[in-house]
């Protein structure tokens, strides 16, 4: 399983993601600088977390218009697997790969803590090692993870089983619509999520709840 991790100025969880991918897939991912115009030949592109361009203007807005994103969009349309985590979710949403938007947390503060996630769709490339309805612990660390979309979009996401991760009822940390923590596109090859599974995969992290997510990549 070959992967690439995109790097924009201000991204700061690329080393976390590289570490997680290497530990779980056994292959060190390519790190691709934002000014590149062509992706290397890979099975998966990950857009990691951080504060690309300082989150100035709007989270992910500037990075979404970087040169490399044109190739990401073109190849995603042909089925390349894309995973956006946290700022990465914001970036690929800004790039139009996923519907809706991520806005300021309802509590108006940055929140870093462990949340409980329910796996709502176990048919994706990142969840196929999980049981549907399984609940896992996973950390979050964001100030703008409040997922919003118009009613039709939400109905479409729900109706097509495209909500992949949901905060367990009563634990929604940011006010996201329908407790949505992560979604996928209609074809299922693009997933975006606010929580950080890469920070909960080994003994040092206290729990390994998110290890099966990365193991899913090998089966996909």
């Amino acid at each position: 399983m070959k992967s690439a991790v995109l790097l924009f100025p201000g991204i700061n969880r690329e080393s976390d993601m590289v570490q997680a991918l290497e530990k779980t897939t056994g292959v060190k991912p390519h790190v691709v600088w934002h000014t590149e115009t062509t992706l290397p030949k890979v099975d998966l592109v990950v857009v990691p977390g951080g504060f690309s361009y300082g989150d100035y203007l709007r989270c992910g807005a500037i990075a979404a218009r970087s040169p490399i994103m044109a190739d990401v969009k073109a190849k995603a349309a042909k089925g390349l697997k894309v995973l956006g985590v946290c700022n990465g979710f914001q970036i690929i949403t800004e790039a139009g790969l996923l519907p809706g938007a991520l806005v300021r947390n309802a509590g108006l503060r940055f929140v870093c803590k462990e949340v409980r996630l329910r796996i709502e769709n176990n048919q994706t490339f990142f969840t196929n090692k999980m049981a549907e309805g399984a609940v896992v612990s996973c950390p979050i660390a964001h100030g703008e993870g409040n997922y919003i979309a118009d009613r039709e979009t939400l109905e479409e996401l729900e109706g097509e089983g495209r909500v992949v991760f949901r905060y367990v009822e009563g634990t929604n940390p940011n006010g996201a619509a329908n407790d949505i923590a992560g979604i996928c596109n209609a074809a299922g090859n693009v997933i975006g999520m606010m929580p950080h599974p890469e920070n909960m995969i080994e003994a040092l992290h206290g729990k390994r709840d998110c290890l099966p997510l990365f193991e899913s990549l090998l089966a996909a």
Partner: protein, 733 residues
């Protein structure tokens, strides 16, 4: 180039407005042999203020132990450097940003974090952990909530975006900080021990390069402001506060580390307090070189800036370097890649003069050594602090209702959970956090096997009551906290926050606190490798509680034996190690339950600290114990509660009097262990003459039982512990 001439008349009022005392100005005149220009006056004011020159504290700072077998670089550089084996080094320092954070809490604290991170990566280290020690006025003061909210958001806003995990810190409240809150930020970085970068310039005629963000008019005279007391017009000083840009700093970090790896850097200094002035003078003075700058080359973000403004701007995220000329192009390409400014603005000379040119004129021509390492030094008068009498247990009433007293203490502003604060900090970025805030110390992984532990501590009410014992205690508490996670304490950084040193009683606090810190460091083989002094923390003549914050770093050779303070399983016995509690002077119980702040603080027996701590660390590494926590604020009772709460377990301990439950006697720990191991622990302790005994056990029941008379449900304690901070910040109190 025209000759030096002053465009502005230098009047006594102007001199005074620059914070120079008449005798200091006379000294400056005699060095120059003529009247200074306004730019020269500004430079002198920036270099000779307390913040940059340490003129009141230097004499006493020199008494601290700064050497040790793991010390690679002690005080005097941007940060201290210690050896952690395997060719690796830890670079760390703590620094205050008190005055700016009071005037503009978000930007003041954000730039405090930015400044200390820069100090660490300037030396070639990637920051791997941040801590912050925050002290605010009493919760009921009208400004406090606004300051807490702004400072915490600012600390988080900068560190989270930059991408460093915040792994520890302190938050305290006291009326004596009503007019001066304290924001002490600490950064810890990792580097290869043979690739440390220093500020000392070497070589004549080499390019002096400006890197990073552009220069603006923000922060002019920030360091001078930080060296004066506040009055009722403090708010008018808002324009002296800088504005932080963590995104630029993150890019600057990556660009600097890339540049350092290329071999282009001879010397590097970040532009912190007093900006371009301080960084250029330090590089030249340390290398016994002159520096000539052409300000026409400085990247500015505003037009029409004068030499005076450029030299005193404290715009953030800027660096000054001396580069190898043959690597100039390579260096420039790295900075362009990261979208940062790169400009050659001057050169090193052999004249020992600091020469500033702007628009065809010489604006300053100063002796560089006199501005830098030969700045004035004072031996300010001091008086020995008066010793307070020790309180005997019988001088302090026992609680009428023990359960109510425990709830009161557990829910008090200084003792309740800091979750509201640390959940606003990214504690996980970089994926190496082994212990996040909430325990005794933060722990970060360095390699698959080893880690380092970090903590910051001081008990200001102890220091106020007895600066000498309080200074010792601050050091000892960091040492204990590092020990509690299984680490070997290596070295400290000190951040000395005091009032006006021109008052002999304040100077006396500083002198005796430093004596105490020095004595503890010597006894514990725990040198000081970096530090910062913040004086003049006074408003309208009222000084803060003396607050020498200590940041400690320890080494965990084997992460697999790292310890935590949370109880692990029902049936484990609870051991009190180090003796019975008796000291209620300056205790949390005395203050929170009886409303009294009196008496001498608990004395610190450093030989016992060492004996007991070394014993506990051995137990941890031999896997003999299941949980460890030191006894500090709130005494034994609070320690047991703090161990039970996160475990979702209960505890049953024997009945004891209020001095034993709440006494804050030092060098003590609570341990939990399986019953079969407990016997061996007690017998080993006895062999070493360390008092240790079983006081209770961890229970499945969800309550805390003390003796036969008191049962308190853990859920009630949890509500008390978790409730205060969010309720206070939401305006519900």
């Amino acid at each position: 180039m025209s000759k030096l001439g002053s465009e502005t008349a230098i009047t006594p009022e102007l001199v005074a407005a620059h914070g120079l005392k008449p005798d200091e100005y006379q000294h400056f005149l005699s060095l120059l042999g003529r009247t200074p220009t306004i730019t020269e006056l500004g430079i002198c004011s920036a270099m000779w203020n307390e913040h940059c020159s340490y003129k009141s504290s230097k004499k006493w700072l020199k008494t601290l132990p700064t050497k040790g077998k793991r010390v690679i670089c002690g005080p005097g550089e941007n940060a201290g450097v210690i050896d952690i084996d395997d060719g690796q080094a830890i670079i760390f320092k703590m620094e205050s940003h008190n005055h700016p954070s009071f005037i503009e809490p978000y930007q003041g604290s954000a730039t405090g974090v930015g400044g200390i991170l820069r100090d660490v990566f300037t030396m070639g280290a990637r920051p791997i952990a941040a801590l912050n020690a925050l002290r605010f006025g009493e919760p009921s003061h009208p400004k406090t909530k606004h300051l807490v909210s702004g400072v915490v958001a600012g600390v988080g806003g900068y560190g989270n975006s930059f991408g460093v995990p915040t792994l520890g810190g302190e938050v305290n409240f006291h009326a004596r900080y009503n007019g001066n809150n304290l924001v002490n930020a600490m950064a810890v970085g990792l580097a290869d021990a043979d690739k440390i970068f220093y500020s000392k310039a070497e070589g004549v005629g080499l390019p002096v390069v400006y890197l990073g963000a552009k220069t603006g008019r923000d922060g002019i005279h920030g360091a001078t402001m930080a060296s004066a007391e506040f009055d009722e017009k403090a708010e008018e000083k808002r324009p002296t506060v800088q504005v932080g840009d963590p995104f630029t700093e993150k890019c600057l970090l990556e660009a600097c580390l890339e540049l350092m790896a290329s071999g282009a850097v001879i010397a590097i200094q970040d532009m912190g307090a007093a900006g371009l002035t301080c960084s250029a003078v330090e590089m030249g003075a340390k290398g016994d070189l002159g520096i000539e700058l052409d300000l026409d080359k400085v990247p500015c973000r505003e037009t029409g800036m004068s030499a005076y403004e450029m030299m005193l701007s404290e715009s953030q995220e800027r660096m000054l370097m001396v580069l190898r000329p043959e690597k100039e192009k390579e260096a420039e390409a790295i900075f362009k890649k990261w979208g940062l400014d790169f400009a050659i603005i001057g050169k090193t000379t052999n004249t020992l003069r600091f020469v500033i040119k702007h628009q065809g004129e010489v604006k300053a021509d100063l002796p560089i050594k006199a501005m830098g390492d030969e700045a004035p030094e004072y031996d300010r008068p001091w008086v020995e602090p008066r010793k307070l009498a020790r309180l005997k247990p019988e001088d302090v009433a026992a609680p009428n209702d023990l359960a109510a007293a425990l709830l009161k203490i557990t829910s008090s502003p200084d003792m309740c959970s800091r979750r509201w604060v640390y959940e606003q900090y990214d504690t996980l970025v970089r994926s190496n956090s082994a212990q996040i805030p909430g325990g005794d110390a933060g722990v970060v992984r360095i390699t698959e096997k080893k880690g380092i532990a970090v903590t910051s501590d001081v008990t200001p009410r102890y220091v106020e009551a007895d600066p000498f014992e309080g200074g010792k205690q601050a050091v000892a508490e960091t040492w204990r906290n590092l020990t509690c996670v299984g680490a070997t304490p290596i070295a400290i950084t000190d951040n000395l926050n005091f009032g006006n040193p021109e008052r002999p009683e304040i100077m006396g606090q500083l002198v005796f606190a430093l004596k105490g810190i020095g004595e503890a460091c010597r006894a514990l083989d725990y040198p000081v490798v970096s530090g910062n002094v913040s004086l003049y923390n006074e408003t309208m003549g009222q000084g803060i509680l003396p607050t020498p914050t200590i940041g400690g770093v320890g080494l965990l050779p084997d992460l697999s034996v790292m310890m935590t303070s949370r109880f692990k399983q029902a049936g484990d016995v609870i051991i009190l190690l180090g003796g019975e509690g008796s000291e209620l002077g300056q205790s949390i119980y005395l203050r929170e339950v009886l409303g009294r702040e009196e008496g001498a603080p608990p004395p610190v027996d450093l030989a016992k600290e060492k004996l007991h701590g070394d014993f506990v660390r051995r137990l941890i590494r031999d896997r003999m114990v299941s949980a460890v926590h030191d006894i500090s604020d709130g005494g034994l009772a609070s320690a047991v509660i703090e161990m039970a709460l996160p475990a979702k377990l209960g505890a049953k301990i024997e009945g004891m009097d209020h001095a034993a439950l709440f006494g804050e006697d030092q060098a003590r720990y609570i341990l939990s262990a399986r019953p079969e191991e407990a016997m061996e622990i007690l017998s080993n302790a006895q062999d070493k003459d360390i008092p240790a005994r079983i006081i209770g056990e961890v229970t499945q029941a969800a309550d805390l039982k003390i003796g036969s008379g008191m049962t308190l449900s853990m859920s009630e304690l949890r509500r008390a512990h978790e409730g205060w901070f969010p309720a206070y910040m939401n305006g519900e109190l």
